[in-house]
């Protein structure tokens, strides 16, 4: 891409900037499109589990439902409560949305298909996703209303608690793959299990860590059963209560983009990313991006399945699970895995 712009007569710096901009726009549009489709899938899965039809009116099989909803909110009026802190009130959804998109810069869809192949890709994702809490906290405070504020308090405590365990889990994966770079983490999983299965998922030491990671991902994105930030029975709609039209839609899109990000992280860190499930030459004829999307949507299906199945946690139980169960467990696994790797001479 950079060469293309250099051929147009730009200097290297500007060509690189232009190429990166094109990459950013492409990935943002693709992520937005898949968010729209994934919301449709979510509602269809939910419908199927509840034995009803789900969206089926707009377009063939209701495929255009999300776009119709998007158009609808776009045409609505943005209501700003008179008691709200206007600037922060409007800034909050923008932050949620931007942060949700920014993390996709280091996600490799296939070998080399990513905006920026930085060395510290995994740390970058951790840094960006730790910003996600600000959108929620700011919206809750700026709404100047009781329930959004409660929700913001809950979100702040919940996201920080589970980020700690996620950090330790990522340490385990990084130890095993000897790199923070997303591409190298995926390549380290090639033939990991018994020499022909791709993915850390099939490693008996890393599998429990994967389960913890998946549950932490549910809590981090505030999905059921950890959706205490928007528990309808207690908090109306949580931090989104006072929002309408586009400002509400930005929260919605950001939330689903975050869920997709977590699904793709599960894929990249534990299921071998764009690699086919097993090492078998014919499987490599399928483009890597197909494997990546298949695995990601499988995890998304798990997310909606869990949403439809599991009742909501109580708040003190949530805190207990995060601090008293997952944190010690992930710490023990860091010690266990680094000990095992040292004993087997992984680093020499």
């Amino acid at each position: 891409m950079t060469e293309f712009f250099q051929n147009l007569g730009m200097s290297y710096e500007w060509a690189w900037t232009a190429a990166t901009l094109v990459g950013i726009i492409t990935i943002s549009l693709l992520v937005m499109f898949s968010v729209a489709m994934v919301i449709y899938v979510d509602r269809k899965v939910l419908g199927a589990i509840m034995m009803r039809r789900g969206p089926n009116v707009v377009g063939p099989f209701g495929l255009l439902q999300s776009f119709a909803d998007g158009l609808k909110v776009f045409l609505q009026e943005t209501i700003i409560p008179s008691a709200a802190n206007k600037g922060i009130f409007l800034l909050a959804p923008i932050i949620t949305f931007t942060v949700a998109l920014a993390a996709w810069a280091v996600i490799p869809f296939d070998e080399g298909v990513l905006v920026s192949d930085i060395n510290l890709g995994l740390l970058y994702i951790l840094a960006i996703s730790s910003l996600g809490v600000y959108g929620v906290v700011m919206s809750g405070w700026a709404s100047n209303s009781k329930y959004p504020f409660f929700s913001a308090m809950r979100a702040a405590a919940q996201m920080i608690s589970y980020e700690v365990s996620i950090g330790f889990i990522l340490v385990c994966v990084v130890l095993w793959s000897k790199s923070f770079n997303m591409t190298e983490i995926v390549l380290a999983q090639q033939g990991h299990g018994l020499g022909f299965v791709n993915g850390f998922f099939f490693n008996p030491l890393l599998f429990p860590i994967f389960v913890v990671f998946f549950i932490c991902a549910l809590a981090e994105t505030a999905r059921a059963p950890f959706d205490l930030t928007e528990a309808e029975s207690e908090l109306v709609a949580g931090y989104q209560t006072e929002y309408s039209s586009m400002s509400f839609a930005l929260f919605w899109l950001g939330e689903y983009a975050n869920i997709l990000l977590m699904c793709s992280l599960c894929t990249l860190l534990f299921m071998g990313g764009w690699l086919p499930p097993v090492e078998w030459a014919p499987l490599y004829y399928v483009p890597g991006i197909v494997w990546f999307l298949l695995k990601t949507f499988f995890f998304f299906f798990l997310f909606s399945w869990i949403w439809a199945t599991v009742p909501r946690y109580r708040y003190d139980q949530l805190m207990r699970l995060g601090w008293k169960v997952f944190l010690p467990m992930s710490l023990i696994f860091v010690a266990l895995i680094s000990g095992y790797l040292m004993a087997t001479g992984h680093f020499s």
């Binding site: 500007w14 922060i88 740390l123 840094a127 910003l131 913001a152 702040a156 920080i160 923070f180």
Partner: protein, 207 residues
């Protein structure tokens, strides 16, 4: 060209938001400006090639410390008039801190101009910093040369944490409802908690 632009953008934003931290009337706005300052400082660190420190700055300060700041400031009911009065009282102290920081900056700059710190590994050989990545270099220093300082810092933090827990710990009051035992709750079966009754019409149920 782009690096220069980015540098002036980040540097200008850091200074502007740092000024806004002390200028804004609402303490929540102050914290939000502070977060912006942290974030742009991380941008500056990426520009000088210290991307690991930059990521840690965002993860630790922006992602955790500042969230707790925001948390506390939002919950506090702050009297603005009292804060203004405190401003005059604390002014000399603020000047003193600013002067110390300025002196340290000048000292650091002078030391840098006099020739950088010579880094060496534990066995006395010169450190090879050029071919190492950021993390490796920091890891070698932190866990090799500065291991004792690192452990002391860790123990101080541990003691501080235990102190905070001891200060806020309240033993359960006698007579209060006991703690939940999750295992016991899960192990309970329906027949231990419920009774089937088949009352005659017109008669009540005795439990």
């Amino acid at each position: 060209m782009i690096q220069t632009l980015a540098f002036y953008l980040f540097a200008g934003l850091v200074i502007a938001s740092a000024v806004m931290v002390i200028m804004s009337r609402n303490p929540v706005h102050s914290v939000l400006w502070l977060i912006l300052a942290f974030f742009n400082a991380a941008g500056l660190m990426v520009l000088v090639g210290a991307e690991f420190i930059a990521m840690l700055l965002v993860i630790v300060y922006v992602g955790a410390v500042a969230v707790l700041f925001l948390f506390v400031v939002m919950m506090l009911d702050i009297d603005f008039a009292a804060m203004r009065a405190g401003f005059i009282k604390n002014f000399p102290l603020g000047i003193a801190v600013a002067l110390i920081l300025l002196a340290e900056l000048i000292l650091g700059l002078g030391a840098y101009n006099a020739g950088g710190l010579e880094l060496a590994t534990a066995d006395g050989s010169a450190a090879q910093g050029v071919d190492q990545s950021n993390i490796e270099a920091i890891g070698v220093l932190l866990y090799g040369r500065y291991i004792f300082l690192f452990e002391v810092a860790g123990i101080i933090l541990l003691v501080a944490m235990i102190g905070a827990i001891v200060l806020t710990f309240q033993p359960p009051k006698p007579g209060a409802r006991g703690r939940q035992d999750i295992g016991k709750q899960i192990a309970r079966r329906p027949h231990e908690a419920t009774v089937m009754k088949n009352p005659e019409t017109g008669q009540g149920v005795e439990l």
